[in-house]
Assembly symmetry: C2
Homo-oligomer: 361 residues x 2
């Protein structure tokens, strides 16, 4: 399934540490170390980093609300369920949300966005998904970053299902607000959103009305500064989740980011070729394939729901169906973190081969 | 310290369960059972219940924002740090926030609120803290509920540091939105807010503009209904935190709510008398004492910070200083959940007695 991913024993063990107080110098040191590790995985040197108890959508709401509350003009390219969610979140903060739709299974077309921004110089923010989990498309965020920079537009990216498994170069690509969650590429249990914020984003946020209190990055910045030495966040921190995340970030950096990305690419390409060998049609072309989730089209040989149940019942392997309009039309295989391994992919391919043989007989 | 509390081994063990998917019939059953257990601890039969990944303040922001966004008139009685936080949160959603201040260490005066609401029939919401953790006052929420009902005003209560350790009768007292968090009276690790919502609150929420997306109770209600059978919430649920909470709610109900409240009262009164025997002055009178946190005034015999460090270094016991204006003027002892026991209180009293003897020599 496309997350949450299996979590290692050492991370789970951190999750069940005795609950410690979320303040004082000892905890603040642990917290600050976790922020530093997160910055390294985000590939950002100096952007501010926040750990917000909540889901990935909480982080997106914090980033979007802090940027666009009070009807700032924002453009959202949509090519799937999670692009629509960005639009939905933005719409609760601004009545000036613009949308450009792209085909499901196709990437966001950078040229179209470039033209749109050229025509509308008053757009101030672009909100894009990196990996569109609902289709398995990885959108060209690096190119979007260049376009945004050219038009002086801030870029906020939903990297929930990519970061940690696929390259997200926050600084190099010019991602002003980058959001992910603990439970996918970062291989920790769910419960924390991670949000990085650039100096350029702060300039706009400081002039934006409050989008609420808890998901208001101004509030988080104020406590990070005012209470830096003993309680650098405004609320009770989810301490066990942070300890687990710290452990998983450490593991990720020990593996090495580049090694990790290559592992995901290698396993993805092996999986895709093997699926083609089994006669499946992939939903997304090679150029924009996600390296964390792969979508496969339904065809006349099988029913998606039947295949899903067969794999779960007979092989204890979980795949996911399509979301929304894509229900019944495709299935999705998650391969992030520990799932990006031959050990995890081969039993799946074996099970699918067996299923096809059985239904074909 | 006034939370987070020590968490039992069986709850911690649930916290480190292998991460399961946050959807499907199996998970939905676990989630729904947890909601039922929470309703029993909230003493509500039929109010809707939500588990929101986040801190207690996330729950308060969800409740307040969903009620008052778009400048609804709300009254906040303030007698401490957490009353001010309610005001701060409300102010990000409404420019019509009214405040009545009371002395620190004194309870909210119900008569004053009654008069205020009589003078201002356009106030629609009252937001009050139950236990004001910063002073150890328990505000008279039952009486506030009667006043609200008389004036046809909705009541939202911050029960973060009381619920589970002190009586909170959501239905009987007419608390329209009741908010707590996992890590205090509920004895689970931090990371989840619990929010109950009455039918009367829904009537107002449905007519209120969106206060954002993640902390928007309308969004949570929609998914609880539309996706009831497989994914009854809008986001990735913090599954391990929910499993731990389910375990701790079960333990609480096994002990028995009334037994539990009496245990907290008995230990509180023993602690208060013993502190008086040691010559300390209590900050709060007997009639409005919290049964989860006790505040003690500084006096000429000692420095708060010195006592705090002594107890931590010599006896591994944590107490907390005063917050904000009360820094240096008092210290606070938490006694909720496992802390509401003689086993936990006696070593503290012993350590304090020893400290006083040593500084007195």
């Amino acid at each position: 399934i496309p997350g949450p991913v299996e979590v290692s024993d050492e991370v789970l063990s951190a999750m069940s540490s005795p609950v410690v107080a979320h303040y004082g110098p000892e905890w603040t040191e642990i917290y600050d170390e976790t922020l530093s590790l997160a910055r390294r995985v985000f590939l950002t040197k100096s952007n501010d980093m926040f750990l917000i108890p909540g889901s990935g959508s909480a982080g997106l709401d914090a980033g979007l609300g802090s940027l666009v509350e009070g009807n700032r003009k924002v453009l959202v390219p949509i090519n799937g369920w999670f692009g629509r969610r960005l639009r939905n979140i933005a719409s609760t903060h601004s009545n000036d949300v613009h949308v450009v739709d792209f085909e499901l299974g196709e990437p966001v077309d950078v040229g179209v966005i470039d033209d749109y921004l050229a025509d509308r110089p008053d757009v101030e923010v672009l909100a894009a998904t990196h990996c569109e989990t609902s289709t398995g498309v990885e959108n060209p965020v690096e190119e979007l970053g260049k376009v945004c920079s050219r038009h002086d537009v801030l870029l906020i990216v939903d990297a929930v299902s990519s970061l940690g498994g696929s390259r997200v170069k926050t600084d190099e690509w010019g991602v002003d607000i980058c959001v992910t969650a603990s439970q996918k590429g970062l291989e920790a249990p769910p419960g924390l959103a991670l949000v990085s914020v650039s100096p350029e984003a702060w300039d706009v946020i400081e002039g934006t009305p409050d989008p609420g209190w808890y998901l208001n990055l101004k509030v988080w910045k104020k406590f990070a500064s005012d209470w830096a030495s003993w309680h650098p966040f405004p609320v009770t921190m989810a301490v066990n989740n942070v300890l687990a995340l710290k452990q998983s970030l450490t593991r990720i950096l020990e593996e090495g980011l580049e090694e990790r990305f290559q592992r995901h690419e290698e396993v993805t390409d092996f999986l895709r070729e093997s699926l083609r060998n089994l006669g499946f049609t992939l939903f997304v072309g090679n150029d924009y394939r996600s390296t964390t989730v792969t979508s496969v089209e339904a065809d006349s040989r099988f029913e998606v729901e039947e295949l899903r149940e067969y794999l779960e019942d007979e092989h204890s392997i979980k795949i996911a169906g399509g979301l929304g309009d894509l229900e019944g039309k495709l299935f999705r295989i998650g391969h992030m973190g520990p799932g990006a391994s031959y050990d995890s992919i081969l039993p799946l391919l074996f099970g699918m081969g067996k299923y096809l043989r059985e239904v074909g007989e």
